[in-house]
Amino acid sequence: MNSESRRDLLFNVLMNGAAPLVAILIAFAIGGIVITSLGTNPFAFFSRMFSLNFGSMRGVSQMIYRATPYFFTAMSLSFAFKAGLFNIGAEGQMFIGGLALAWVGFTFTWLPFPILFVLCLVAGFLGGALWGAIPGYLKVKRGAHEVITTIMMNFIAIAMVQYLVQNHFMNPDWGIPHTPTVAKGAYAPSLDKIIPWFPTGTRANIMFLVAIILAGLTLVLLRRTKLGYEIRATGLNPNSAEYAGIDISSRTVMTMAISGGFAGMATANFILGPGSHYFLKSEYGGIGFSGIAVGLLGRNNPLGIILAAILFGFLENGALGVQLYFPNVPRQIVEIMQAIILIVLVIVLELARKFLQRLQKRG
């Protein structure tokens, strides 16, 4: 191995491995301080959290269930990132996609499994894709920056979904606003139906595998197809892409659509998976935004994103269970830690970059 590739390896290890780990450790340390200040032993707290997640296959399964939607919204961020676009709109795309897939599920109730299930996923993808394509189109046609438009589209989506559910899909007798339930044909099989040794009665479902398959397909798309080549070229250098005869406008819109499509499928885990089987807006808030953190923590790499999504699932699942044991620690501690991870990560990455630059200067 020559020294250049040694440096590249060092760069990779530092930026993609060490930096996220340091960020996670610091987040746990700060979380521990907060927990201590609440009069609870942080080691007892975290070890309980750990055993709730990893102590049994049921725990693992619940953790996977919680991790799955983050997987989708993080892929949404990362895919756009590969094309040089910063899609902050996963939240809105997730809501639009979620409502679309629920609507298909409770409307075409006569369709059998797996036709309805697949149709629901397609609807979720298309709903999110539409919501993502609009900022892409505005960028191409009017030069509107996608960060601004995707953020704005989030608010529109949230209000629109709220309105549609309350005024069109909801039975006024129900206490909380949600849609009708989807038909059986739309149910996502739980993981124990597919993996024999998986524990029964948990909510982990096939959507986790769907996410993994999609991540693999994305890699193939970007690395091995003509379209992926053009998407990457457009993202890395639009001027050179233009020189190469690539239609950068259509590639930008398409990238945003695919990115939005991933986010649009995020809630299938809740709506089609074991559980209430209806669209309940209040249950999903923040998953799109957290996807940004998961994507960045996973360094836009499929394996990294799985690990990061599982970490977020770990925290969330742990927070739900640990409340029984430590009632004086609010579950929001997890949100604090998620935020700290992101902030520290950004700082650590910047420090690592500086360190590598100095290394280069020293030679």
Binding site: N2, S3, E4, S5, R6, R7, R224, T225, K226, L227, Y229, E230, R232, A233, L236, N237, N239, S240, A241, E242, Y243, A244, G245, Q360, K361, R362, G363
Partner: protein, 514 residues
């Protein structure tokens, strides 16, 4: 500087280099790309820390750890890429970091006064309140020089100062540097243009592969001598060009016009034709419509009127893909911002623009194996120095990046090659290589449209030369019957030939040289 050694991972950038400059001289530092010139100067200016060696200033041993130390000694550097804040005014840019203030209140008037004085001392006027982003590249460079002088530098280092300038701007830079010398300043300038060395320098130091080859007084050397020192072998400064054997007409372009968004004609009613085995050169100062003409011709931009016919099929405003399929290759003038994607591998760059061709992809998938095989053959054939075809293009040197682009376009065996500034910013060895390859294309009956701001290049490669000025052809010449001086007169617009005659000659209706 004595025994300066600087190592980068895998590279010995400076290998115990001795370098000395006398007070009040203009000293040129020349060498091919990657010879270690800039590294040596960055060590002197404190941007890089040296691994070994000593620096003496006025016979005193000094330690320069960062640019502040260098500034305190009176050493200033004008970088190749300007370090200005575009939305700020000239005075704010120059005083930034060494503001004149009384009790914390900025004294901009004093700053402006000093800047005007400094500027007039070296022979130009400047409006200190102008906003930098509205100013031309040449003026920005002057601001950089003023910035250094404002900090009372006695030694000025200029890194390839002429690379970004038009010929007229180069002239006035010469004047400025001469004036500075008269004031007793010491100037070191890095370049690989030998003309500049001969015109300007008192002494010259040549570097090659991180080592110093030698230092010479200007009167005891010559361009050829320096070129040999730079590359360590004989180089052809003029390309061997065989007698032209023009064949059938390849491309016929008539009345081409390109408008910008405001409706101004950037290219105005240009016509020309190129035959097989012929090189049609377009000479001109940058910014006179060359870029627009070429980008519209190669499908990046559009003509607002006019026609382009290639072997009798209409290709006016065809897109880049169609043009490539018709056998029209394009070496763009901006290597990094048009010609390649630095974060792509060598292989990926090798198919850029041709990735939709059947040999590199089917309906959906890229043929990665074929891509790689072809790229490897090209790396071999064109002697591109890269660890592998999977290396990212960003880690190649400028000359090798350019070779990669040339390799890509020539490997597709185009009928017509549009080459814009094909040797800009690359070293003598690579220039020679590119020139030879272009001449081989000509010999094999390909047509070539060459745009260059290097008159030497235009003169030695072209068969017919058009001069472009403000979007129009102002003169048509046979390369055997003109001179750099004559072209220069037309390039500045001070003379123009009869419009009809230019058009007729450019379209080749009259055989030239009769």
């Amino acid at each position: 500087m004595e025994g300066i050694t600087k190592r980068f991972p895998g590279v010995l950038a400076n290998d115990s280099v001795d370098f000395s400059v006398q007070e009040g001289e203009i000293h040129a530092l020349v060498g091919e790309n990657g010879a270690g010139k800039t590294t040596l100067m960055k060590v002197l200016y404190g941007i890089y820390s040296k691994d070994e060696g000593q620096i003496y200033f006025d016979d005193e041993h000094v330690s320069i750890e960062d640019p502040k130390d260098a500034n305190n000694l009176g050493i200033g550097m004008v970088h190749q890429h300007f370090m200005l804040v575009p939305p700020l005014s000239v005075v704010d840019n120059i005083t930034l970091g060494s503001e004149i203030a009384h009790r914390g209140v900025l004294d901009r008037e004093e700053g402006k006064r000093r800047i005007r004085d400094l500027a007039s001392d070296i022979g130009f006027d400047i409006d200190p309140e102008a906003t930098v982003e509205d100013l031309s590249v040449g003026v920005r460079q002057r601001i950089e020089i003023l910035k250094v002088l404002f900090r009372e530098a006695e030694v000025l280092i200029l890194d390839e100062p002429t690379a970004v300038l038009t010929p007229q701007e180069v002239e006035s830079l010469y004047e400025i540097l001469t004036n500075l010398q008269e004031q007793g300043k010491t100037i070191i300038f890095i370049t690989h243009k030998l003309n500049e060395v001969m015109d300007l320098a008192d002494r010259v130091t040549v570097m090659r592969e991180g080592k110093k080859v030698g230092t010479k007084g200007i009167e005891e050397t010559s361009k050829n001598n320096l070129a040999n020192m730079m590359v360590g072998r004989e180089v052809l400064l003029r390309v061997e060009k065989k007698e032209a054997e023009p064949g059938e007409e390849l491309i016929r372009a008539e009345n081409l016009t390109v408008k910008n968004d405001e409706g101004v004609n950037l290219v105005n009613d240009i016509s020309f034709s190129i035959r097989e085995g012929e090189v049609f050169g377009i000479a001109g100062v940058q910014g006179n419509g060359q870029t627009e003409l070429i980008e519209a011709l190669t499908g990046i931009d559009r003509f607002s009127s006019g026609t382009v016919e290639v072997q009798n099929s209409d290709l006016t405003n065809a897109d880049g893909r169609e043009l490539r399929e018709e056998g029209i290759g394009h070496i763009p003038e901006d290597r990094l911002d048009r010609g390649m994607i630095t974060d792509f591998t060598v292989t990926e760059n090798f198919v850029l623009g041709y990735h939709t061709f059947e040999r590199y992809s089917n309906r959906l998938f890229l043929k990665l194996k074929e891509m790689d095989n072809h790229a490897e053959e090209a790396v071999e054939e064109f002697d591109i120095k890269t660890p592998s075809t999977k290396t990212l293009a960003e880690s190649l040197s400028g000359g090798n990046q350019q070779k990669l682009i040339v390799a890509r376009e020539l490997s597709q065996q185009p009928k017509l090659l549009v080459a814009a500034q094909p040797t800009r910013g690359i070293d003598v060895g690579a220039i020679e290589f590119v020139h030879e390859r272009l001449m081989e294309e000509r010999a094999s009956g390909k047509g070539l449209l060459l745009v260059s701001s290097e008159l030497d290049e235009i003169m030695s490669l072209s068969d017919r030369i058009a001069v472009i000025y403000e979007g129009e052809f102002t003169g048509m010449f046979d390369s055997n019957e003109t001179s750099k001086e004559e072209l220069g007169v037309y390039m500045t617009g001070s003379k123009r030939q009869n419009e009809e005659e230019v058009r007729r000659k450019a379209l080749g209706k009259v055989s030239l040289g009769e």
